[in-house]
């Protein structure tokens, strides 16, 4: 028997992988469920915050700015734990899953909004004048003229933040969401095979991050204005 036969036998013989693999893939499904909801919502929140900061009147703009400043300054874990443990004190009861989604939307939305804001501010003022001279309202101008250009410019930064979000989704295990890391932690305490288990989790995260960055690169290329 050569090395690979021994290696394969060792993997196949033991019941460990047969038990662990389906479970960690189940955890992966939960992670994907969290991400698939929180990524679009966070981007929508980011656009709203950025538009509110730039085009809103004084109080709205100040409110959006302090929201972003606060949640960019808080570590993601602190926001997550605060939402899960402190919201019940003011009478809002959320399941772990929805607490995690809410926290990720708020945190990632705040980070992404900075990129969107920078992109909106980098659009030449002439575009705005042109829209006004065509008789567009402010809202039409923002939706049809400014945002389509700004979002394309913001895409690299926003996609970077979304990839961060993929990694930070592991924090949801602290509040009892049964995602990849929660499953690996549980199985590490049952079997105590830390290297196998956490490397498996790491590989899944690496796979997700690499796929995500590939997808964003494709979107970036497809959405680019032809020269």
């Amino acid at each position: 028997m050569n090395f690979w036969d021994v290696f394969l036998l060792k993997i196949l013989e033991e019941e460990f992988w047969g038990v662990f693999l389906p479970k960690i893939l189940g955890g992966w499904v939960v992670t994907v469920k969290v991400l698939l909801i929180s990524i679009p919502l966070s981007t929508i929140l980011a656009i709203t915050l950025a538009v509110a900061r730039i085009y809103g009147n004084k109080p709205v703009s100040l409110l959006a700015a302090s929201f972003v400043g606060l949640f960019r300054g808080f570590p993601c874990v602190v926001t997550l734990l605060m939402i899960f443990f402190a919201l019940p004190e003011i009478g809002v009861y959320l399941s772990p899953y929805w607490s995690a989604v809410l926290a990720f939307v708020i945190v990632s939305g705040s980070y992404q909004s900075e990129y969107v804001r920078g992109a909106i501010q980098s659009i030449e003022i002439g575009q705005s004048f042109a829209a006004q001279s065509l008789g567009m309202t402010k809202l039409q101008e923002i939706i049809h003229i400014i945002l389509p250009q700004a979002l394309r410019r913001a895409l690299p930064g926003v996609s970077n933040e979304i990839i961060y979000l993929v990694k930070y989704s592991s924090l949801a295990s602290f509040i009892g969401v049964g995602e990849i890391f929660a499953v690996s932690r549980l199985y590490n305490s049952l079997y105590f095979r830390p290297i196998d288990i956490f490397l498996a989790a790491a590989v899944i995260y690496m796979f997700m991050c690499t796929i995500a960055s590939f997808i964003f690169k494709v979107i970036e290329n497809k959405s680019r204005y032809p020269e």
Binding site: F74, L81, A86, Y205
Partner: protein
């Protein structure tokens, strides 16, 4: 409610004391990360053979969550190497290894923006390649990379909160103790968050001062 307790101030002071541990984590992590990141950046720019390995290192540490790395190293790698580290030491090493991967990208961009002509000029003056990199390229590259580096400080500071999972008694762990003792979550967590916010701003301002102080007068960098 927590404000009914006369203990409030002591609780909050207890949390604030955790910033010493947090600074330990961040300082150690930044230092290790600086050394690793700088070596990786130099290796990535100036060598051919080591580049794929360095790229693989950067790829692994940048696309794995800190939480998974902490547990992998604390329970897996260090015991397998026959050396069980304390939670604090393990957290510092992991933060450093990971930060090194991130910092290498900052330094690599800075080294590349200094440009090849500087190194060529150094070679023309009779310097060896190592001397040219050490005395000509790096002094400029490090100055350029300071703004990006202050960003890394902010990220590392916020990520160091995750080390509570291993039981390092830094700000967040203490906050959780206080939450358990006071049966009150909002104020301790909010206080911890604001503490992180303040620490981020103070640190970023300090780096900005260093940046202004070390700026070479009259030199404009084309980024």
């Amino acid at each position: 409610m927590i404000w009914k307790y006369p203990l409030l101030l002591r609780y909050l002071l207890y949390i604030a004391e955790g910033s010493v541990w947090t600074f330990g984590l961040v300082g150690g992590g930044l230092l290790i990360g600086f050394l690793i990141g700088l070596s990786i950046a130099v290796g990535q720019v100036y060598t051919k053979t080591a580049k794929p390995f360095l790229d693989a290192y950067v790829w692994f540490f940048r696309s794995t969550p800190l939480l998974v790395l902490l547990f992998l190293f604390y329970w897996g790698v260090f015991p397998a190497l026959g050396r069980k580290l304390s939670p604090l030491a393990c957290s510092i090493v992991v933060l450093g290894l990971r930060s090194g991967a991130y910092q290498s990208q900052i330094f690599r961009g800075a080294i590349m923006s200094v440009g090849e002509s500087q190194l060529m000029a150094a070679l023309a003056l009779g310097m060896s390649e190592i001397k040219g990199v050490l005395h000509i390229v790096l002094p400029q590259a490090l100055r350029i990379s300071l703004p990006g580096w202050s960003n890394e400080y902010a990220i590392l500071l916020k990520d160091s909160a995750i080390c509570f999972a291993l039981g390092v008694i830094e700000i967040l762990t203490r906050t959780r103790f206080v939450v358990m003792a006071a049966r009150e979550a909002l104020i301790p967590y909010f206080f911890a968050g604001v503490l992180f916010l303040v620490l981020t701003h103070v640190g970023t301002k300090l780096v900005q001062i260093v940046y202004e102080r070390t700026k070479i007068p009259g030199l404009i960098w084309r980024m």
